[in-house]
């Protein structure tokens, strides 16, 4: 066994700068794969039907995804923090019902505040159960989802509740600069959540807690408070979403919003957020929401047989997420 020496090279300091820069940029491109898919979907729809690229259609698409989008935004923060809020759809219902009842008894404004506070309270219960209560996040919010669902039925007397004061509807329908108030609320909440995550100490706490709970705790991060706050935010936002949907039809029923959570979770994950926590961004969730909204819109406009809609939609989702996963983690 003889020696074959390496050519004397510089000691292992920073790697060859050119190679790294190219490598890093390529990774960046891969990170945005899902955005390319969204753009492709948008272009494809614009080309396949002229009913797509109209002002009224696009505004409808955006406004129609407000409820799901709101829940997905706040749900993103919970997931990044390492939690999981399955009960958001149920909180949506209970808050709306409480809001409507109080509105009928007192006034719409007080009703909306009551609905919002209800969402916060239900979220806080989730937060306490999953931190101090030491219940697994998935199981805990599954339990509250069922319990809150029952609460919705009980409080509403299991029937449709009508809103007496039509000014309640202003929450959803008021137009500002051509867009409905509900749309603006979605934009505001998305921007706020994005701001929270990227610019605040709370955001750092969230990423740390979700990224490595033990390490965050040993770094002095208040992990329980962070998770609880995320759940309260999720509850509050679900409440707002519930009030908006009630405002649209001036009525609410206990089964409203039951499937929202699954669409919201799909949007969060399609956008490329990690279900394990510690990584992610609100823009990703918004991309996911947009993709799901466009798919549904496409079905309507193209008149796809409802029989096949679910198969097509599931396939598109698999393609989108698969392509994203494949390009992102090439070891």
């Amino acid at each position: 066994m003889t020696a074959s020496s390496a050519t004397p090279s510089s000691p292992s300091t920073a790697p060859a700068p050119a190679a790294t820069r190219r490598g890093l940029r390529l990774t960046r491109l891969r990170d945005y794969g899902i955005v390319l898919f969204l753009i492709a979907l948008f272009v494809g729809l614009s080309l396949s039907t002229d009913k797509f690229l109209t002002e009224s259609n696009l505004k409808n698409v955006i406004d129609g995804s407000v409820a799901m989008g709101l829940i997905a935004c706040a749900g993103t923060i919970v997931i990044i923090a390492g939690g999981f809020d399955l009960s958001a759809g149920a909180i949506f219902a209970v808050s709306a019902i409480v809001g409507v009842k109080v509105s009928n008894d007192v006034s719409p404004i007080v009703g909306m505040i009551a609905g919002l506070l209800c969402g916060c309270a239900l979220g806080l219960i989730n937060g306490v159960l999953c931190t101090v209560g030491r219940i697994n996040h998935f199981v805990g919010t599954l339990g509250t989802m069922i319990a809150y669902g029952g609460l919705a039925t009980a409080v509403s007397g299991s029937g449709l509740l009508l809103i007496n004061d039509p000014s309640f509807g202003n929450l959803a329908t008021t137009e500002i600069l051509g867009f409905k108030l509900s749309t603006w609320i979605l934009v505001a909440v998305a921007l706020f959540c994005g701001f929270l995550l990227s610019r605040t100490v709370f955001g750092r706490h969230t990423f740390g807690t979700g990224g490595n709970l033990a390490a965050a705790r040993l770094s002095g991060v208040p992990v329980h408070r962070t998770l609880a706050a995320a759940y309260v935010l999720s509850g509050a936002v679900a409440g707002i979403a519930g009030l908006i949907v009630a405002a649209r039809s001036l009525s609410v029923s206990p089964t409203t919003g039951a499937n929202l959570i699954f669409d919201a979770l799909a949007a969060i994950l399609i956008g490329g957020n990690s279900v394990l926590g510690g990584e992610g961004a609100i823009w990703r969730t918004m991309v996911g929401v947009a993709i799901l909204a466009l798919i549904a819109n496409g079905f309507n406009l193209l008149g796809i047989d409802p029989l096949y809609q679910q198969i097509v939609s599931g396939t598109i989702i698999l393609v989108a997420v698969g392509a994203d996963a494949w390009t992102r983690r090439r070891a």
């Binding site: 074959s4 000691p11 920073a14 790294t20 820069r21 490598g23 605040t200 750092r204 490595n212 510690g278």
Partner: protein, 506 residues
Amino acid sequence: MSGEAAAQPHIELRGVSKNYGGVQAVRDVSLEIARGSVHAIVGENGAGKSTVSKIIAGVIPPSLGELRVAGQPADFASPRQALAAGIAMIDQELAMVPARSVIDNIFLGAESRRLGRLDTRAQRRRFEELIEQTGFNLDGDQHVRSLSVADQQKVEILRAIARDAELIIMDEPTAPLTQVEADQLYEIISDLRKGGTTILYISHFLDEVLQISDTVTVMRDGLHVSTKPAAEETEASLVRGMLGRSLELAFPQRRACDPASAPVLEVRGLTAAGRFADVSFDLRPGEIVGMAGLIGSGRTEVLRAVFGADPVDSGEILLGGTQLRARSPRALIDRGLVMLPENRKDDGLVMCRSVAENTVMAHLDDVSTNGLVRRDRQRKAVGKLMKDLDVRTSSPDAPMSSLSGGNQQKVLFAKCLMGNPRVLLVDEPTRGVDVGAKRAIYDLITSLAEEGMAVLVVSSELEEVLGLAHRVLVMRRGRLVANLDAADADEETVLSHAFGTAAAAA
């Protein structure tokens, strides 16, 4: 040992390269591993040793070049195929299912079958044979998670032997072991070698490598530097090959600390049932105190308890003369006591976040106003710490996982030091860190003490403890059994206290 030059090499690499994106982990490496020999690979973190072994074990494919096993080209698509070719790997992070039994783990992936069902009797028979053959003292039905690390390793070795492995790759096997357990491992390796098994051994411990191997390969920056019989190398020559320059391996000079100064940390009668009992000690400013003891003696538990990470049953802790009532990591960090945890991946760093985020995580208030993070202040603070500690990274926004072990450890130090603590508790300062970074960390600890910081170092490397500390505490089975001045602390004395073989001390 590596005698029969005419015989075909067991494993051969020809011009093997591996790149990840733009990064070349291994460049044009060619080497031969002789059958029935103990062949070691040494190199700094990032030199490519683990990558080479993973290529041989079928965990990752080479980007270029050829792997030959027993003269035949081999193109493994998975570790399973490598196993079928007689190659087994025991990784640094032991790969077992903690909730399953020893027997289940040994036969995982190669279960005995009879008529489509699991043949537990055949497995148990084979297990008994293996125990007989190796002389290991293991209970087949015990759950793996309740075993010590040393015993878990034995399970991994049995797993390799059960598959009739002809080549066993061991990556840093002695890092988590005590000297006694390491010696047992050397025996095992020697027996395996006598039985004709080839061993590929990766380690940072150069003395160990020279002791047990026949041939040593040195790698640097992904390149093959040399492959020579171990007899022709010395620690110094290996270091020269690894770094491309010489390195003074001795410990930095420590300045004597003032024995009259008031202690900054006083621990009195700390007790936690099942973990430790009646632990009392002092720490003075500028003092480096080492804490030695066998694995399981309670050192980490004491550190975590002082830091407030775990609760205690009774006892007092005084910091700067004031008794500490509220004990949590946050409370202690705010009062100037910080702990560097034993396991940086599990407890110290958030691997998916960036270097900068990890560095400031314990002191976010110092780089923010009213809850808003100020990027400029963060950049300044991080920049200064990176420079002071000489952390090598492409950018402060690089993910933690892209750094070498040594640099990750430096970032962990940076995080702990950001608030200029008065007391630093360090648990295994150089675990999984290469020679160059080790020395840098020793220099760091010594200079921190010179500037007045009190440092408590827990380490399983006795050499490290003796080289750094002004005083040595020894733990045994949860109790503090010795408090020795550097002058009185030598390897034999410390070990005899750790094992409990010392006569009743004066």
